[in-house]
Symmetry: none
Subunit: 419 residues, 2 copies
């Protein structure tokens, strides 16, 4: 099955946003064994969209169109596709009800434009939008399939992953199974990782191995194809073990369990609570933990102490210590971790202090970071990093190193801090 992706929206042609939808959809389809041979972008313009649909219809089996399902006048994807396929539009009752309900709940006025969002191509399979208003839909026309998805990534992504892909998997006629596993690495760069498995990478065929670096983490996706799912799984497991033999020390987890999820599961499992004292990171650590449902089970809370005053007055770091060692020091990081743990009565306290930049701070180089950890057993430790990248990349990296060190610490029952 060959697919192509058409993104509709003048904001893409004006360069206001990048076509990250095409990237996301392509990656998911690749994992599902569906080839993507074309991406196109057209503006909110009927004639050009019709022309693009006509090109796509001649060369692809599955035509995926994102964007232009919204309530406004320039949203014309459904109307144009209906024209092209010579089919009608009708209201999807479930979506219409949800839209009406929203306006009742929020006490705001529903316009006719909003109703329009519930219109779908006749005789299509409808995918309810759990994160917005406009539903998605899949319409068959001859031997071609047209999939319409909403444009906002936060609506499109879960709809694709949770609804559309399982539906396609269930209905696909070819007899080929695909299995893949993501290996997650931290503390090693992409180039270094790849050079250590260069021979494996250059010989890959089935399974394939796709490296990806993102926000300081590196992943390897190992994917095998076979007519038999068990065989595909076996091929993947075999390759994962080969890679682990080389670089297993840096592999902290698999599949969807990224650093943050892994820490959450660990804390939950060990019934431990954590609190954070954040200077450099400004609340990013606690905010990241709070992004996981159920965080209140293990996140006691935290204090953002952005100034020396706050470190003394709110957190209780000693004035003498600050005067002697400064805010970006082992001593300050450890004191911050101890103070926050005691203040919140949590099992673990963690602290972040450093120089995010741009520029040095009181003679300390931009990128210098200290992370402290304190346990209720009395164990206290800290480590330092020199981080590169822009201000926010440094903050994100520091949080990841903090999470990674907590995972090491908890998994080893408060053994030595490993970074």
């Amino acid at each position: 099955m060959n697919a192509e992706i058409i993104a509709v929206g003048s904001e893409l042609l004006l360069g206001q946003i990048a076509n990250t939808n095409a990237q996301f959809i392509s990656a998911r389809l690749a994992e599902s064994g569906i080839n993507v041979y074309h991406h196109s972008v057209v503006g909110d313009n009927e004639e050009r969209l019709l022309q693009t649909l006509s090109h796509a219809d001649k060369r692809s089996d599955l035509i995926i169109i994102t964007g232009g399902l919204g309530p406004t006048k320039d949203d014309l994807t459904k109307e144009t596709t209906a024209d092209f396929l010579a089919c009608g539009l009708s209201y999807d009752e479930e979506s219409l009800k949800a839209i009406e309900q929203y306006f009742i709940q929020t006490g705001t006025t529903m316009t006719e434009n909003n109703r329009k969002q519930a219109l779908v191509l006749e005789d299509s399979t409808v995918f309810f939008n759990f994160h917005g208003m406009a539903p998605g839909m899949l319409k068959s026309s001859g031997d071609k399939s047209y999939l319409l998805l909403p444009g906002p990534p936060r609506e499109m992504k879960p709809m694709l992953v949770d609804q559309v892909l399982p539906y396609l998997q269930h209905h696909k006629t070819e007899n080929s199974s695909i299995h893949s596993k993501v290996m997650r690495f931290f503390g090693i760069g992409e180039a270094d990782l790849e050079s250590r498995i260069e021979d494996i990478l250059s010989e890959q065929s089935n399974p394939t191995i796709a490296p990806l670096a993102e926000d300081g983490e590196v992943t390897l996706r190992v994917t095998a194809r076979s007519s038999d799912l068990n065989e595909a799984e076996h091929l993947v497991d075999q390759m994962v073990r080969v890679i682990e033999d080389r670089v297993g020390d840096y592999c902290y987890g698999y599949d969807q369990n990224n650093l943050l999820q892994k820490l959450s599961l660990l804390l939950e499992h060990k019934k431990m609570t954590v609190s954070s004292a954040e200077s450099l990171t400004g609340g990013l650590f606690s905010s990241e933990l709070a992004s996981i449902p159920g965080a209140s089970n293990y996140l006691s809370g935290g204090i953002t102490v952005y100034t020396d005053e706050a470190k003394k007055n709110v957190l209780g770091v000693e004035k003498d210590l600050l005067d002697q060692y400064g805010a970006v020091s082992r001593e300050c990081a450890e004191s911050m971790a101890q103070q926050i743990r005691i203040k919140f009565g949590s099992d673990v306290g963690i602290s972040f202090t450093g120089v995010a930049g741009p520029g040095d701070y009181h003679g300390i180089a931009e990128g210098t970071v200290w992370i402290g950890v304190s346990l209720s057993s009395g164990y206290t430790a800290s480590f330092t990093l020199t981080l590169k990248g822009d201000r926010n990349f440094k903050r994100i990296s520091a949080v990841k190193y903090g999470i990674y060190s907590l995972i090491q610490l908890i998994e080893k029952d408060a053994g030595p801090l490993k970074v």
Copy 2:
């Protein structure tokens, strides 16, 4: 002059990277008054690239192709374009010398593949690559122009900005300038905003008006064209005033100054400090503020109080108040804002409490949010919201409402809280 952008590279179709080149080129062309009506992506495949060139040649004046100029076997953009235009390839001496020089300097071996990078379309204008090896080129064919640019963004961007655009500007026959302004709105949905200016939107021609919704904010980009830049600016200003007459109450700013930047500038300008007490948002407000360089001038800090215990013990919210009204209440939000302001000695305290979900909490509906504000003058206020979307969208929305309310409050010198 109408342009289109063709990106060549299988890594785009596999979803390994997003097509940020198309975004960058589009934005620069829009600024130069060149319309972009199509983006396409094709893999490193001769047949499909030929087909794409043939579509482009029928509908665009300037066809921009990025990627596939490199040394490897699958780099076939130049060869395929030469085929399509029925022209030859020849070595660009300056590029060839620079490539040879590189291998002499680094003491590495130059392969025949590397020489290939210096090949250019015959009779084209060549743009030397100051950040890599493969030069760019512009080739005229009938009334069409073909622009080939290297794929790596760090080579393509400076070549486009420093060499290609000045060249096009100098040689272009039309005399047209473009000016645009982005209007930023908050507190009004995209559909509602558009329905209030529906007549303006449906009559637009010059200036054009492009709406965009993102993360709970809505923007309108107003763009005018004229042979005279002053006239284009005048047309934009006139339209902005017409729109402001209708929906100016919701317009908080212009161009690059989003909510966060606007609040930072205001706090800096008024020399005010802020601290936050965050339950629902878990530190996201302080982390967002800390993402701006210089945040230490106005961000005193904050406390994440994720549990009732922390609200009492660390922040100092009264036990009786919590018992009587609960953590998600006007009373608790206002007490949290007061306590945090006093604790940090800041000019403003802000608080966030609510039910992020999934699921209701102690009988309070998922999505219920209370935001409290306290000023050193003694003024205290709060407001409630009902937010939709997933857990993290609710947290982001709540932070944006908080930022918006602070902007209103500070701009009006602590007048009534407006949301």
